[in-house]
Symmetry: C2
Subunit: 99 residues, 2 copies
């Protein structure tokens, strides 16, 4: 299995900011990164300000190295004022299909 690190995040956007959060995530620098195997963005059907992302990386070290880069920190900085809170679970992708 190529994935050795992952998580599922649920982000609560500030009211009305769900669209901006989704747009930022769909343009995340994680997506073209070769160590990022899964980056699935989702959204609550009932509350457009609840946004989810499931990530799977080749290793914790690869994710940490990416997270320290300027593009990753720029995304964190752009998201921060748009979010009221977030919660993580230790879900690690193991297989299936997506986009």
């Amino acid at each position: 299995m190529r994935i050795n690190h992952g998580f599922h995040a649920t982000m609560n956007a500030q009211p009305g900011k769900g669209d901006e959060v989704v747009a930022l995530l769909l343009d995340a620098p994680s997506l073209p990164h070769p160590d990022c195997v899964v980056f699935l963005v989702g959204r609550s059907a009932g509350d457009p300000d609840v946004v989810h992302v499931t990530e799977g990386w080749t290793s914790p070290e690869a994710h940490a190295a990416f997270f320290a880069t300027a593009p990753a920190q720029a995304l964190v900085a752009a998201l921060q004022p748009l979010l009221a809170g977030s919660a993580y679970s230790d879900e690690v992708p193991v297989g299936g299909k997506a986009f």
Copy 2:
């Protein structure tokens, strides 16, 4: 967007049954179905008996029609004795990448 229906499920397997649940899901008849756009299986890093699946379908009707088929009901029947419980959220995949 091709996806108009989806959910995120967290299944608590009976103790020690997580491997069997994951194996059944990775062989699910949803995977080759053309109306199933996303079917991402995940697992808790901390508890191998906690299994997740994120699904995205072209429409609620397509999912309902699939769910009524014999292969889908056979999967439900195979999973049922392996599970202690499950919980759903209304997460609908909107984009990203995976396997």
